[in-house]
């Protein structure tokens, strides 16, 4: 008789923020006969994860997404000895009280590897959730400027280019002394980690589209949604976007999307301000995670990329541009909100003009503003290779 075994593994078990908990479950066919499992259905945390608090009370999870075609199919055949792995991330509500929790895989239906009489279950995984730091989830960030503020860069005058390095040197010297005193005489620590879910409406009006492209003229609206974590111990500003996919895509195509997007956006810029902790800035780390619930964005998988919510399965270029919209960046072709950018896909155009090219600092404007309000400070965006 076919038999599956479930093993649960996590990289981090202590001091985890509820919304960031992630682990994987390895499902192995330990019998000599092929077993069947609907991997797509088993990827829904609410269908297979049993979560208990310290008092063994069940923690209810958000409902799974509406069943799609793959959920209703027979499932995959797992050959004897074969093992498959499923990752679960971001399924716990961020408002969950801190403390100790236990989690296990629990499949009590044939599609999930077990039955009512003989459910497929893993050992318990015990995790400790830490209290939220930073803003309370769901409360708007005061002072956040929701309107588009991207502008064309202005060149510095020659005199400023000459004087600025001298001024910076003097400032750096005095600042170094100030920070030394704070650290050694007043015992300042750099251990602050704070997170905030960002949900900002973004809008743009395209005009002056040339002949043949008149259809582009119009007003567009979307929501930039991500989890922003300012992490002093690691000197990072982490931007996590969870995406739920609708439609058929192979694991290789999904990995290609992730690779292309993170290559385009990750670790290219940092957020700088005059401060003693992370004085060389917070590196902007972008992370796209594919989830089955608790998503920031829904992306429909098709043959071509047609906007932020509809991506081509084989496309690894335009999807990076659409990810820029998810971060809050505006388009940079034709005339957008009164700024004339010229035609699209210029050889030297940045990613919001030519998706094949990398982004520039202004494309992280929403991230910078969110970080500023989260910290109550003003940041500038600087290339990762430059000094703050």
């Amino acid at each position: 008789m076919p038999r599956l075994e479930a093993q649960i593994r996590a990289e981090r078990l202590e001091d985890v923020a509820a919304g960031e908990l992630g682990f994987s479950v390895a499902l192995t066919n330990s019998s000599s006969e092929p077993a069947r499992l609907n991997l797509h259905q088993a990827s829904h945390p609410a269908l297979v994860l049993d979560v208990r608090d310290r008092n063994d009370r069940q923690v209810l999870l958000p409902p799974p997404s509406a069943p799609d075609k793959e959920d209703l199919e027979e499932g995959q055949v797992i050959a004897p000895g074969e093992s498959v792995s499923i990752d679960y991330v971001g399924f716990l509500d961020r408002s969950l009280a801190p403390g100790e929790y236990r989690i296990r895989y629990f499949g009590e239906f044939p599609a999930l590897g077990g039955s009512k009489e003989d459910p497929l279950r893993s050992d318990w995984l015990t995790v400790t959730l830490r209290p939220e730091r930073g803003f309370v989830t769901g409360i708007g960030i005061p002072g956040f400027r929701p309107g588009p503020d991207d502008t064309l860069p202005r060149p510095k005058p020659p005199w400023l280019r000459l004087v600025e390095p001298i001024w910076i040197f003097i400032w750096d010297f005095w600042w170094w002394i100030y920070c030394w005193i704070l650290r050694h005489l007043f015992g300042q620590h750099c251990d602050d980690v704070r997170s905030q879910e960002i949900d900002q409406a973004r809008t743009e009006t395209i005009s002056n589209a040339p002949a043949g492209f008149e259809a582009w003229n119009g007003t567009y609206l979307w929501r930039a949604r991500f989890l922003l974590t300012l992490d002093e111990p690691n000197c990072t500003a982490r931007v996590l976007i969870r995406v739920r996919l609708v439609g058929t895509i192979s694991a290789a195509q999904r990995t290609a999307w992730e690779t292309a997007i993170e290559a385009a956006w990750n670790s290219r810029f940092k957020l700088c301000r005059r401060v003693c902790c992370c004085s060389d800035g917070l590196r902007i780390v972008t992370d796209i995670q594919f989830v089955t619930s608790g998503e920031h964005q829904v992306v429909n998988v098709g043959t071509t990329t047609t906007n932020m919510g509809n991506w081509g399965a084989s496309d690894t270029v335009d999807v990076s541009h659409e990810f820029g919209h998810m971060l809050g960046a505006l388009d940079e072709y034709f005339t957008v909100n009164g700024v004339d950018w010229g035609v699209g896909r210029q050889p030297t155009g940045a990613i919001m003009n030519n998706p094949a090219n990398p982004p520039v600092a202004r494309h992280y404007s929403t991230v910078r503003q969110a970080a500023g309000t989260l910290r109550g400070a003003t940041y500038s965006t600087v290339a990762q290779s430059s000094s703050c």
Partner: protein
């Protein structure tokens, strides 16, 4: 150019935005073949016009970066060009009644539009 547009949306009622599929068809009603710029049909953001129950426009996310040259296809007399937009409604759309029409904008003249089609997003 004698073009007409038709729109169908299936299903007419659903509890998740991703379930709606719009199909826009542009037909050459004339006696001669025409060159059709298919760029305006390349994205739901370009080809669909949506309104909520109060008549306010529902704006979609921006279309993709346009190609260098408009893609042109030949549409013979009586032929139609079909564009399918699965999951065209953004995930943040609130439940309610909506209507949409297909809009083919070619040149600076009046766009070719279909009749309005109603659909309802129910609470999930």
């Amino acid at each position: 150019m004698a073009l007409s547009a038709r729109l169908s949306i299936e299903p007419s009622e659903a509890d998740a935005t991703e379930r709606f599929v719009a199909v826009c068809r542009v037909t050459n009603e004339g006696d001669e073949g025409v060159s059709l710029n298919v760029a305006p049909l390349s994205s739901p953001s370009l080809a669909l016009e949506i309104e909520d129950a109060s008549g306010s426009p529902v704006h979609l996310p921006p279309p993709p970066v346009p190609p260098a040259e408009p893609p042109i296809e030949r549409l013979e007399a009586g032929q139609e060009k079909e564009a399918e937009f699965a999951g065209f409604l953004p995930s943040w759309t609130q439940p309610g009644r909506y209507r949409a029409r297909c809009r083919y904008v070619a040149g600076s003249g009046e766009p070719v539009v279909s009749d309005w089609v109603e659909f309802t997003l129910t609470p999930g």
